[in-house]
Symmetry: C2
Subunit: 232 residues, 2 copies
């Protein structure tokens, strides 16, 4: 299956015209012809199957064969993570958590954050590319950056905070996840500050450990999300 | 803790002299002085703690304070993976599986492999760097490339083969891991060939699934190793 993405496509569209850049990609790189089948998703569960009807003037057009609405997962992981200093590592993180299928990512600004600005559009582009590659139909929401304090005040579902401090924590692999939504907070390279951990506990977040190893921010994000997903 | 690596250091060394490049790193980048404490491992469980006694002529010397031999894990994961087409993805894979603590990595040459050569020395360098960063004392062994056929003949412990085919498989998360050693085989971008899967089953390997998503080679390697590790 060749999966494309367009945020505007809907189930009732009878025809679809690809933009110039995707059209060139389809005709020149993928070498598709009239009659080839393609699938398009809007990242909100739609699987729109069509057949290419024309390739003219750098525009590829398709007509609908069928459409299907996938039902969303019953359980949702919301990852809040302090962006890594290295852009590459942050992009890798976005790619991987999209591949494994989490619901949202919020970059958070922490006391020890070294990166204070993110390029949201670039991260969305990476998530779309990972969605297409891993053939999924739900694009994780990528939110704007938020301060740690604001984030912990904003959440209305159970939240877990993974930190490396010595205070009492439960092993994430032993945490039984019963709610529909869960928030997982992963800190920056220098960990959450003691004050942030205190504030999180006051806000009823549960401190968790990912094991004995000292994991990088992006590794902790993917492994933490993965533990929750396999216990879903 | 500032962790360094030297494959030759032993518990009974009373003094240690860093090579020129590491010496420069310690004195110029990390700005350590005489009296600073450092820790060195040989990647075989040794934790050698010392104190810098001199920084002269681009040579940093340390004398031993204590040494400790960590005992190895009781269970060992041996990952056999078809190297990804992209070098970057392969290097990430090595970094991440070192961070999470697997015992060995063998690049395998499969029917659908696009990358037929690896730079073993470069991969070892990346593993050492991840070992230091994640503060571990056991360096995974990075083996030379081997054909798939040769690999499955060489293994004497239980082996699992993760593939995307439709034939009967068990979910890796439901696999109970009782042996001391286990082999996990992850295929190339185009998956294992049907013949390889057949050969693996004849060789008593167990076909496993990592879930519904179509995961990239490096993602499957990391998540597969991680599932086994948390069930260790």
């Amino acid at each position: 299956m060749l999966l494309f993405f367009d945020s505007d496509i809907e189930a009732n569209f009878q025809n679809f015209t690809f933009d110039k850049s995707e059209s060139r990609h389809i005709s020149k790189v993928l070498r598709k012809n009239v009659g080839s089948q393609i699938t398009i998703t809007n990242g909100k569960g739609l699987e729109w199957k069509g057949e290419i009807t024309s390739i003219l003037n750098q525009k590829v057009e398709a007509k609908k064969i069928t459409s299907l609405k996938h039902s969303n997962k019953k359980k949702h992981i919301h990852l809040a993570v302090a962006p890594t200093k290295s852009n590459d590592r942050m992009e890798w993180l976005i790619e991987k958590v999209t591949e494994i299928g989490i619901s949202s990512i919020t970059p958070i600004l922490c006391d020890h954050s070294e990166r204070k600005i993110i390029r949201k559009e670039r991260l969305i582009k990476i998530a779309i590319s990972a969605l297409k590659q891993s053939q999924q139909f739900f694009l994780p929401e990528i939110n704007s950056m938020m301060t740690f304090k604001k984030y912990i005040k904003s959440i209305s579902h159970p939240g877990l905070i993974a930190h490396c401090g010595k205070s009492s924590k439960i092993e994430l692999k032993n945490y039984n996840w019963e709610s529909e939504q869960i928030h997982l907070l992963i800190g920056p390279e220098g960990d959450f500050s003691l004050e942030e951990i205190k504030d999180a506990i006051s806000a009823k977040l549960i401190p968790v450990s990912l094991g004995q190893q000292r994991l990088r921010t992006e590794t902790a994000s993917i492994l933490g999300s993965h533990i929750l997903l396999i216990k879903e």
